[in-house]
């Protein structure tokens, strides 16, 4: 067990390093360089002197390997450099916004789980009936609806039907929970619906597989209540793949937030990323992509640990 975990832990680092190299190279293969591209985009001609000054400010005048070493050393100390746009330390910018995005992500996950597991189980139990088809269409529609459009529709409905708009200014959860939830439940619903689609289908197919197992038939044969069979025997065994999907989607949730935060005007990590791209703030893009990919890799690792813990077959291998 500990050997497996150690191996899995060590394997994380080549991937992280690879991610860092890819991002680093991508930003530097641009014809011209980032400083030139950014300044030229803003205001016609910029003197060579200003360009050199800017390059020196971001250390772009140093040899490439040295730039990479500096960046790596910074990452190890959670120092992401300074933003090209605001001039503020990137760590600071991210810290300001992290709580909001994380809260929406967690709420969206809760929405997704609450939708996916009951729907998936019902669809599996009523396989090939209209219930199954309805759930299937509901989940495929969840994948088809852009979450930003869903957000617009939510706002519109609230406005037209209830003559009410969610608060537009962010209040942290610990300051005023009610105000906070009123604002964040809508983006969480918009993102969570899409998120639930994949999990619903996974729950359905995992349940279908488990329901055909011998031990379910045995449980039925000995006259166990259906609800007990479902919760104790079937659901417990079907949860592993569902858990994987939920974890993977959680790690990628930032993707959904990128567009949804724009709609609800939430100043989170997603909006920061979009602004970074719009302003061609390459140091910020570099830091954020690294952070997102790093987050994914770490969640994957934690997932494997959870797997080993939940599934004895992996633990004793």
């Amino acid at each position: 067990m500990s050997r497996y975990l150690l191996m899995r832990f060590l394997l994380m680092f080549p991937t992280l390093l690879g991610v860092a190299v890819v991002i680093f190279v991508l930003i530097r293969v641009i014809p011209g360089d980032v400083v030139e591209l950014r300044l030229a985009g803003d205001r016609g001609a910029v003197s060579e002197q200003v360009l050199n000054q800017e390059r020196a400010r971001f250390g772009l005048d140093k040899p490439v390997w040295q730039q990479f070493a500096t960046w790596m050393w910074g990452l190890l100390r959670f120092d992401f450099g300074t933003s090209m746009w605001t001039g503020a330390p990137i760590g600071q910018e991210i810290k300001l916004r992290f709580a909001l995005s994380f809260q929406v992500a967690v709420m969206a996950t809760i929405v997704a789980v609450l939708l996916a597991i009951p729907l998936g189980v019902i669809a599996a139990l009523k396989q090939d009936t209209w219930v199954d088809y309805t759930v299937r269409i509901f989940s495929i529609a969840g994948l088809a609806c852009p979450s930003f459009w869903l957000g617009i529709v939510f706002i519109l409905t609230l406005l037209v039907v209830f003559k009410w708009l969610p608060p537009m200014v962010y209040t942290p959860l610990w300051v005023n929970p009610w105000q906070n939830l009123q604002q964040l439940i809508w983006p969480a619903l918009a993102v969570g619906y899409r998120y639930s689609a994949v999990a619903t289908r996974m729950t359905r197919s995992a349940m279908l597989e488990v329901l055909r197992e011998d031990y379910i038939r045995t449980a039925r044969a000995k006259g166990l209540w259906q609800s007990l069979i479902l919760s104790r025997h079937a659901l417990k065994n079907a949860m592993l793949p569902v858990l994987t999907v939920i974890a993977v989607e959680f790690a990628f949730l930032i993707g959904g937030l990128v567009v949804t935060e724009q709609v609800f005007n939430l100043n989170g990590i997603g909006l920061l990323f979009v602004q970074a791209v719009a302003h061609r703030d390459y140091t910020l893009i570099q830091a954020l992509t690294m952070l997102v990919a790093g987050f994914f890799i770490v969640v994957n690792f934690l997932m494997d640990i959870a797997y080993a813990w939940l599934d004895p077959r992996i633990r004793y291998r």
Binding site: V19, Y133, P146, L156, V263, V274
Partner: protein, 299 residues
């Protein structure tokens, strides 16, 4: 002259290709009505895109300052936007953008992924190991984050948007194709081809590729919906297709949100169009997957 040449099993088949396809299509429609509905919707989109100039009563770029934010009426069926441009015309022409970007990136992405996947499985060993690690790295980025980063680097013209959407799809496709190519590599006919002295290129092209057609088609249809959605997202953020091109995501940007209460048609119809298109591709792709490869059904 061809007597001494080793006989390729593919050349022995003499089917009437068209008849076989038609039969397969009929079978598909009969067994999977939902998939057939999806296919019908896709066909409808194609017809709309192809006949856009014929169907559309207005030029999608024409600005009518006398009819800004007009409600849906007999004149403008779905109303007009903040510049007085006909929403229906922009929806019709927007289907061209969606299909162009969707097909462009899905076909290139799935093709490159297939080549990498098959190559990785066929050559195995070091090549496989390094390619897999590289794929792992690219798979650590969410689709939209990598696409956005690429747009920031490449700039946002239509070909660049297609490229930015293609890149994140390649490793996802390669992963799936490699898995099925691994089992094909062990097939006796591949051994036979190797024993007959065929080169790598021929074995890959004539013996491996035709047999990964099923996962290739599955990935292709899955990517189509995703690519359309991704293009809409990028355009909505102002980082994809640029004004004044008619694109669904772009129609939802800016004014559509600002005027959502006064002119809800601007916000509702483009979203419906995106959902309709993606829904159609997903429905079709889903059924295609069930029909072609029951093993993949759980994914």
């Amino acid at each position: 002259m061809a007597v001494a040449r080793p006989v390729d099993p593919l050349e022995l088949e003499t089917p009437s290709a068209l008849g076989r396809w038609a039969a397969a299509a009929a079978e598909f429609c009969r067994q999977r009505p939902l998939g057939a509905i999806g296919a019908g919707a896709i066909l409808f989109l194609f017809v709309v895109a192809a006949l856009a100039p014929v169907i559309s009563a207005y030029d999608p770029l024409a600005v009518h300052f006398d009819a800004m934010l007009a409600r849906p009426s007999a004149l403008h069926w779905l109303g007009t936007d903040a510049f007085g441009r006909d929403v229906l015309a922009r929806l019709i022409y927007g289907s061209r953008t969606a299909l162009l970007v969707g097909f462009g990136s899905a076909i290139v992405g799935a093709a490159l992924g297939t080549i990498l996947g098959v190559g990785s499985a066929y050559f195995g060993g070091r090549v496989d190991l390094y390619l897999q690690r590289l794929m792992d790295v690219f798979l650590s980025f969410p689709l939209i984050v990598l696409a956005l980063a690429l747009v920031a680097i490449l700039g946002n013209s239509v070909p660049n948007v297609i490229a930015a959407i293609t890149v994140p799809m390649v490793p996802r496709c390669a992963l799936v194709i490699r898995a099925s190519a691994l089992s094909i590599r062990e097939m006796p006919y591949v051994d036979a081809a190797r024993a007959a002295g065929f080169g790598h290129a021929r074995i890959i092209l004539r013996h491996m590729l035709p047999n990964v057609m099923a996962p290739f088609l599955i990935m292709l249809t899955a990517f189509l919906g995703q690519a359309i959605l991704l293009e809409a997202s990028l355009s909505f953020l102002g980082l994809g297709v640029q004004e004044p091109t008619a694109a669904w995501g772009l129609m939802l940007r800016g004014a559509a949100v600002d005027f959502a209460e006064a002119a809800p048609w601007m916000a509702i119809f483009p979203g419906l169009a995106i959902s309709f298109a993606v829904f159609a591709f997903n429905l079709f792709g889903d059924s295609l997957r069930d029909a072609l490869d029951p093993k993949l059904r759980t994914q």
